[in-house]
């Protein structure tokens, strides 16, 4: 390598360093801030999950608990100016029925602000586990909407609709099923994140709360919410990825 080549190589290296650094800093910043927001949202929700009315008359509804989590998250992420690089879109009631998601997180590309990675979130509650008719009610409303739209009604659970939505976008859209409390552990929040659940669709299994709970059987290792986001941001290629996350 001659002198000129060495100089060029050196210059290229300097430029690479200059260009790369802000992205890495941005990613580290994003992961730290996201962890902070989740910490705030999870710990506040945990307080309410563990709440017991001494007279056993008042029980916060599942939707209230989801809203407490989301409100706390949104409030904290606004305070931290996180929304420019990582946004959170709460779904409308219609979108919740159509797409199965309660909200969608997105890592935004700069400067286009288009989503680069998305996480569609659906919340499961212990209380709802036994309520089969809730799923039927959702399916009934969904069927009526699709029928009015002159579209084919695909019978499926809310979870299956969200998995279908994610797979229609691609491997950079992940489904995250959050459990606000689990059997024998009512105060903690857990999650299953995957971009590969579509593989189970059409294989004689019904993807619902019970099916997803199976992933937690015997599980001892959980990643943190920051670890989860770090894995997604650092991931290259279209490989499948599934992980268990502990939010509290």
């Amino acid at each position: 390598m001659n002198q000129a080549d060495l100089q060029n190589e050196s210059k290229t290296s300097i430029f690479r360093t200059i260009w790369c650094k802000p992205n890495k800093v941005a990613s580290l910043n994003l992961i730290r801030l996201f962890g902070d927001c989740i910490q705030a949202a999870s710990s506040r929700t945990k307080d309410y999950l563990l709440f017991r009315d001494p007279e056993s008359k008042f029980h916060p509804s599942p939707s209230t608990l989801s809203e407490i989590f989301l409100m706390t998250y949104i409030q904290r992420s606004s305070q931290l100016n996180l929304t420019n690089i990582f946004n959170c879109t709460a779904m409308t009631p219609e979108q919740r029925i159509l797409l199965g998601a309660h909200w969608v997180w997105a890592v935004l590309d700069h400067p286009s602000k288009n989503p680069r990675i998305q996480i569609a979130v659906q919340v499961f509650h212990l209380q709802e586990r036994e309520e089969e008719n809730l799923e039927e009610l959702h399916l009934d409303v969904y069927s009526k909407i699709m029928h009015m739209a002159g579209m084919e009604v695909v019978n499926g659970t809310q979870a299956e609709r969200m998995v279908g939505f994610c797979s229609s976008i691609g491997r950079d859209c992940y489904a995250l099923f959050l459990f606000f409390g689990r059997k024998n552990d009512e105060g903690n929040i857990y999650g299953l994140l995957s971009n590969n659940l579509q593989a189970a669709v059409g294989k004689c299994v019904r993807i619902d709360q019970t099916f997803i709970e199976h992933f937690f059987k015997g599980a001892k290792c959980f990643v943190t919410p920051s670890g989860m986001l770090q894995a997604l941001v650092g991931k290259e290629g279209d490989d499948p990825l599934t992980m268990l996350v502990k939010f509290t």
């Binding site: 809203e67 998601a101 009015m148 739209a149 002159g150 976008i169």
Partner: protein
Amino acid sequence: MDLYGKMATQDNKQKENADQNFDYMFKLLIIGNSSVGKTSFLFRYADDTFTSAFVSTVGIDFKVKTAYKNDKQIKLQIWDTAGQERYRTITTAYYRGAMGFILMYDITNEESFAAVQDWATQIKTYSWDNAQVILAANKCDMEEERIVSVDSGRLLAEQLGFEFFETSAKDNINVKQTFERLVDIICDKMSDTLEADPSVATGGPTSRLTDNPMPPQQSDCGC
């Protein structure tokens, strides 16, 4: 507690959305590039509200609005589509059975105007032949930032065979008129089709008009 009230309201709204009590049902779609103002346009028409905060639509959403024409109740199921390419698989699935489209661009955004032809091709590819289209040039309140002239918009609409409106969701210009005109031309098309081929007349007075490839027509199209 407020939250309970809110959820109850949302539940009622969902029931209303699925309510089957109407004379006619038209499925409409709003399409166009991201950030041209599709969601704002729908909010202005359905709820008469406007917010300048930009929230990119995730996938697809819809609202139901009832319109009245010649004493007939026409239920409009209006689908608001995400403009971003990553949602194309999900949004084009909803083109099926649509009777009308509002194809929107932003007069301050050349790229959104240049994409109109591609959107028109998408309609041809995924929808049925008789779907009616109105080209809406949105954000006409932003005259100082205008890049696409009224004439360019009108000329393109003529070339594509679409009707044309300059609109502003912000200042409520031509929003209602665009929807009303779309309903009118859908009704006109239905009447023409009936006159040309009365054998297509099927269904009772409350039948829906959304099935593919040809929506079932009213036997007495008085709308």
